[in-house]
């Protein structure tokens, strides 16, 4: 397999890999590193690529596992700085500005969702995967996926309506 063949094969889903990595790792640089890592892994195994029935689903599963491992090792290595660590009690000006920019606010709300819900929401509402494909990636049955998805959607909307009503989180 030549480099151009490989690029053609990978091109349709490399952005999806990147977006999933970014959803989980949050930082753009980290997500870029992860994407590169995944693509290099695929390139190394290019002989086996023909054997995979669904290369995209396989790659997404790889991305999910890679990012979750990354998060785990990070938590073990150093203290994770989360928003709650330095959150102020009174509403800061910054937050009000953020609240006004509500599209950005959505990504912040998704950040606080559990990992599993993040992945499912990402695959469904942004990448528009059907439930069978999502089932392959997260290794869950479609009913459980629907439940998780419904929870994620409701949480986002709840938090958004609160923001709209009071201008705070």
């Amino acid at each position: 397999m030549t480099q151009t063949d490989f690029t053609k094969l990978v091109l349709p889903f490399k952005d999806k890999v990147f977006r999933l990595a970014k959803r989980l790792l949050v930082s753009r640089e980290e997500a870029e590193d992860a994407t590169q890592e995944i693509l290099l892994k695929l390139w190394k195994n290019k002989q086996k690529i023909a054997e995979y029935k669904n290369l995209e689903a396989f790659s997404m599963t790889m991305t999910k596992n890679f990012c979750l491992d990354r998060l785990k090792s990070k938590q073990a290595q150093n203290l994770k700085i989360v928003h709650s660590n330095y959150e102020e009690n009174n509403t800061s000006l910054e937050k009000q500005v953020e609240a006004r920019d509500s599209v950005d606010w959505v990504s912040k709300i998704i950040e606080e969702l559990p990992e599993q819900q993040k992945i499912i929401l990402q695959l469904r509402d942004i990448e528009e995967y059907d439930f069978d494909e999502i089932a392959k990636v997260v290794d869950m049955n479609p009913t459980a996926i629907r439940v998780a998805l419904s929870r994620a959607r409701k949480t986002i909307r709840e938090k958004l309506t609160n923001t709209h009503r009071y201008g705070i989180k």
Binding site: D15, F18, K22, L40, E128, A148, S150, R157, L160
Partner: protein, 174 residues
């Protein structure tokens, strides 16, 4: 689209029961400028989904190395191995070949070679038996040499007599 049907779809959406087509309808509806105020939060959500898909792209190049140099190195190592193995087997492993595995021509050659070796072998044996005769002769020779010893004693005695005779002739001349 009628607001009523949108609200029904949204209810299904919240429960995770919409199909991808229905979700695309919703996305299209909320992409328009004005929506009912109570649906504002949905609009924010769907706008976010649309924009991330369009804007978050992976643009970096991935260095895809073709590991040819490595492969060549290993091929040379393998070639060396095969070569040395070949030499080893031709040196030490030839007797593993059985007669039946040879081709007809080879069998013929082999038979001829065996015949030649047999011939040389038989001549060698003949020569060896000839040599045995020499051995016998040398035995006899040393036996004969032993028998000459008394003769040597005789010659000693005659020398003595000769010497004394010479002396006598000398003194008679004087």
């Amino acid at each position: 689209m009628v607001l009523n049907s949108i609200e029904k779809l949204l209810e299904k959406y919240d429960n995770g029961e919409t199909t991808i087509k229905e979700e695309q309808q919703l996305k299209a509806y909320f992409a328009q400028e004005e929506v009912a105020p109570h649906l504002e939060s949905y609009k924010t959500m769907f706008q976010y989904f649309n924009t991330t898909k369009q804007e978050d792209l992976y643009t970096k190049d991935v260095p895809l190395k073709t590991k040819k140099s490595h492969i060549y190195q290993w091929i040379s190592v393998a070639a060396l191995l095969v070569l040395s193995l070949g030499i080893f087997t031709t040196q030490f492993g030839e007797d593993k070949l059985t007669y039946s595995q040879l081709t007809l021509q080879e069998q013929k050659d082999y038979d001829q070679a065996v015949e030649v070796f047999n011939l040389i072998g038989s001549k060698f044996e003949q020569g060896e038996s000839n040599m045995a005769a020499f051995g016998l002769m040398s035995n006899k020779l040393s036996e004969g040499a032993e028998k000459f010893e008394p003769v040597a004693e005789f010659s000693k005695a005659t020398n003595k007599i000769l010497k004394s005779k010479k002396k006598k002739t000398k003194t008679s001349k004087n």
